[in-house]
Amino acid sequence: MRRRVIFDDKLLPYLLLAPQIAVTIVFFFWPAAQAIHQSTLLQDPFGMRQQFVGLENFQAVLADPNYLGAIRVTAIFSISVTVLAMAPALLFAAMADRHIRGATTYKTLLIWPYAVAPAVAAVLWLFIFHPSIGVLGRALNAAGIVWNYHLDGEQALGLVIFASAWKQVSYNFLFFLAGLQSIPKSVLEAASIDGASATRRFWTVVFPLLSPTTFFLLVVNVVYAFFDTFGTIDALTKGGPGTSTVTLIYRVYVDGNANLNLGQSAAQSVILMAIVIALTAIQFRYIERKVHY
């Protein structure tokens, strides 16, 4: 899309673009190219020698049972966070959409967790679910349920999922509420004149009309679960116990930072890039966007 009337300076547009393009090249393209380059190299741990190995790093990564484990954890984690963050949000939005007293106050009290950093959300729930000092952690143990997320991998994963979803409900709530408010009242009135109950109206009229919002939120929540929950995991479990809460992102960090396996860390980065590109493509291909090119 082009404007009819434009300015015709020759140099100025380049000067205006320069800061952003410079940052983009230095901190985005160059590192991404480096990642791709390094993913084809084998380096000794001291960085003294390196040799070209083609796709060997990728083969090694994909054959590694730990990596397959991280894929499994990431899949369980992403699906659970998405469902747990979206279902309550839809329920709250459906309730807040009715003409009830105090709707604005409810809205304010339901959106603030968006502002809480993922790592801070983790700390809040750690303090609640800590097996020996947390209010609920102690209560569970007192009730005879052995609760210790430091030792039990499933409990650790459950806690990380819960803390991650808790923070994301607000975001989904806002978008569901906006979606619900854009549904024409006449459609709902027609359905109720036809004798449809509130529940029936919701599932046969409202929910289908909400599907663009729902689909959009599905993608956003998967992206959130993939990338923005690093802080939650690092603050709560550091990937443990064992590797039971190591997601793909967490593994790249551990492999590159602590284990210094640069080639395989880079190969993992490249795989993740492919995943992000796929997710972004889905987002733009199937979701009604207001961006025109």
Binding site: A35, M95, G231, N257
Partner: protein
Amino acid sequence: MASPRRSTDLLPHLVLVLGVAIFAFPIYFAVIGSTWDASTIGRGQMPLFPGPLAAENYWTVWSSGEGTRIRSTPVATLMFNSLVMALVICFGKIAISLLSAYAVVFFSFPLRMVFFWMIFVTLMLPVEVRIIPTYEVIVNLGMFDSFAGLTVPLIASATATLLFRQFFLTIPDELVEASKIDGAGPLRFFWDTVLPLSRTNIAALAVILFIYGWNQYLWPLLITKSRSMETIVIGITKMIGTGEVQNDWNLIMATTIFAMLPPVLVVVFMQRWFVKGLVDTEK
């Protein structure tokens, strides 16, 4: 509507009150925790009501950060670092995005679309997928453990540029023409017309970006080393360590409250801008 109102009025209130309670639940206990002493909490005997040490705990973390078991950076320093990081990222992003969107929309020049796509593609390269090589670039440029390293790499933003571009495309051609007839050059037009028209968008974006900058985790974790450069979110997780029972949990909770306060207040008091910003940036 035909359905009877009264009978269904109770259910939404019940559900929403439950939701509000689930959200507020951990905050309540964080506040309670910040008002007791470390050993009461460490014994697992924290009461369900506030204790007497609120002022003392908050003052300790704010001024010294030294408890009986941990030595942390004072919260005053941590908050200052977070504030600098959030504000520089916020206004840096807005500034460079405004300029590049203006160039792409109001000029015609060779490689225009190439530049546009270069900016667009960065959507697909979040920090998390290029951790190690980006870290190396920072070290080579001498930006490690500095405010420049913390902020500059995060100020490139496809989202903000796309948002401003969308908005600029809605500015009518007549306005540009009138301005040209009046003899205004491109910079004058930008300053006198485009910038004032963009005020609403800038405010909405600023709220979202402030929260984004304040809540950064992975990047400051990689880029800072000295304790005096830590942001408050990093400071808290360093205090926790591996989550032992014997820790200054009272101080950790006081720090947590401090860490949440600025972004939560921004959302609550600038709610209108916040909602607009959130919806805009995702379109």
